[in-house]
């Protein structure tokens, strides 16, 4: 009976294990940019992905249309109900914007761009990891188009889906908020109908339940099911007012000092095709060093 590993092969196996560990620690190092070899492979594969993706999307779009027609009647009914509210909301919004402008002018903030001001780039998803461990998208815009590492990525309705992790020349990778490492330390806030905003932190994603953890909420805050969690704009990475999700369950944390909540992401992360990448016009004060 031949043995699985001869001496020579055992040495090869051990060497490759060492190389594996070295490679893993290299890629886990914080803030590594994609090196030229990675960028090259990513761009070449991205080109082919783009070519294959366009006809595939046409075919998939056809089936989705058939599905959409079935739902159209129900949706139409519901949307008509919402439309009644729309006029009043728009009016209110306009009044508030005007008011805000006057107040800012009085405060002398006129020329400072708001924290929520950003430039938008639109991009198409050309690839996605299917192994579910990695939650990554590949999009068809890269450094050439002005995309940089760390920019937040949203979908329609200002719903946050993730951030750019590795931008190469013509394509870039988006790490979704369903990636546990990416969903760490996002400063978030709940705007209740009455009272002060409730601050907290998004700390991690549960891949088994598909939920985000919203922690470090003050113990006295009245968090309820169904409240909407948005980004606070206090962290340097994400601008203010991006919708993260809705609260599904409220508990206290393990020490009983703060409250914790589970948040269902607002965006359907499985059904993405076009995404928007945001670039903040302002940087946080600490970056400017004044």
């Amino acid at each position: 009976m031949p043995s699985f590993f001869s001496n020579k092969k055992l040495i090869i196996l051990l060497t490759s294990l060492i190389i594996l560990i070295a490679l893993i620690s290299y890629s886990l190092k914080q803030g590594t940019r994609a090196n030229w070899a990675e960028q090259f492979v990513q761009d070449v594969v991205g080109g082919f992905q783009y070519v294959i993706n366009v006809p595939a999307r046409y075919a998939a779009g056809f089936f989705q249309n058939v599905n959409a027609i079935e739902n159209a009647y129900k949706e139409n009914k519901r949307l008509k109900e919402n439309l009644a509210n729309y006029a009043s909301v728009e009016q209110e919004n306009r009044t508030l914007t005007a008011q805000n402008k006057t107040l800012r002018a009085q405060l002398g903030l006129k020329n400072d761009p708001k924290l929520s001001d950003f430039r938008k780039y639109s991009a198409m998803m050309i690839g996605r990891t299917v192994d579910q461990f990695n939650q990554l998208l590949t999009i068809d815009k890269g450094r050439v188009n002005g995309i940089e590492d760390g920019m937040p990525v949203i979908t329609s309705g200002k719903r946050l889906i993730g951030s750019i992790t590795k931008a190469s020349s013509f394509t870039s990778k988006v790490s979704l908020i369903s990636d546990d490492q990416n969903a760490n330390q996002i400063s978030a806030v709940i705007q209740p109908k009455k009272g002060d905003p409730i601050p907290g932190m998004i700390e991690g994603y549960d891949q088994n339940k598909d939920l985000l953890y919203f922690r470090k909420i003050p113990i006295k805050a009245k968090v309820q099911k169904g409240q909407v969690v948005i980004t606070s704009g206090l962290s340097g990475k994400y601008p203010e007012g991006l919708v993260i999700g809705t609260v599904t369950k409220v508990t206290t944390d393990q020490y009983g000092l703060t409250k914790a909540a589970q948040v269902k992401p607002a965006a359907n992360l499985n059904d993405l095709s076009y995404v928007l990448i945001l670039e903040r016009k302002t940087s946080v004060a600490s970056d400017e060093g004044d």
């Binding site: 594996l20 192994d131 990695n134 992790t165």
Partner: protein, 170 residues
């Protein structure tokens, strides 16, 4: 020339895995994870019916490409793919390869490969999937999907590989 055909086929499968498959709505249904490992299945068949050294070379190349394009940590897929291809082709020498045995070996290879990747990712904290979810929601569906794919390509691909390895030996 003949080699490049195999490479193009594998590259095509590699692209399909990441672009067309995620567009199919079935793949997000019922919290079940269907993971297509078509490139891996094809490489295993190359190792069984072609030659082991090619199989391992392709496993290393496409493992690294998977790492770069479809994951955020380098080396994990390259290592697991190559090791599994080697182990499976060692086992394949003791048995009589026919359709059923090939599908069984491919299934065993997929479980071994997925488990290696899962354990490495769990150790470096890239995933927090529990073992229960892994074996209930991931392994059975992945096996069914890839067994169907093996069934689909078995006869044409085997004929092609056997012909090619004859041509190489001449």
């Amino acid at each position: 020339m003949k080699q490049s055909k195999v490479f193009i086929l594998l590259f095509f499968l590699f692209i399909i895995q990441g672009t067309v498959i995620p567009l199919i709505p079935l793949f997000h249904a019922w919290d079940i994870q269907w993971v297509p490992e078509f490139v891996f299945v094809a490489i295993l068949m190359i190792a069984f019916f072609g030659s082991l050294s090619w199989g391992m070379r392709y496993a290393l190349i496409f493992g690294f490409m998977t790492d770069i394009v479809y994951s955020s940590v380098l080396g994990v897929y390259a290592f697991s793919l190559t090791l599994t291809v080697y182990l499976m082709s060692m086992i394949s020498r003791w048995v009589n390869l026919n359709l059923v045995i090939t599908i069984l070996l491919v299934a065993a290879g997929i479980v071994a490969m997925e488990f290696q990747v899962y354990v490495i990712y769990l150790m470096i904290g890239l995933t927090d999937q529990s073992l229960g979810v892994f074996f209930q929601a991931r392994v059975p569906s992945t096996l069914v999907l890839n067994a169907l794919f093996t069934l689909l390509i078995y006869y044409p691909f085997r004929r092609y590989l056997v012909k090619m390895s004859d041509w190489i030996q001449k």
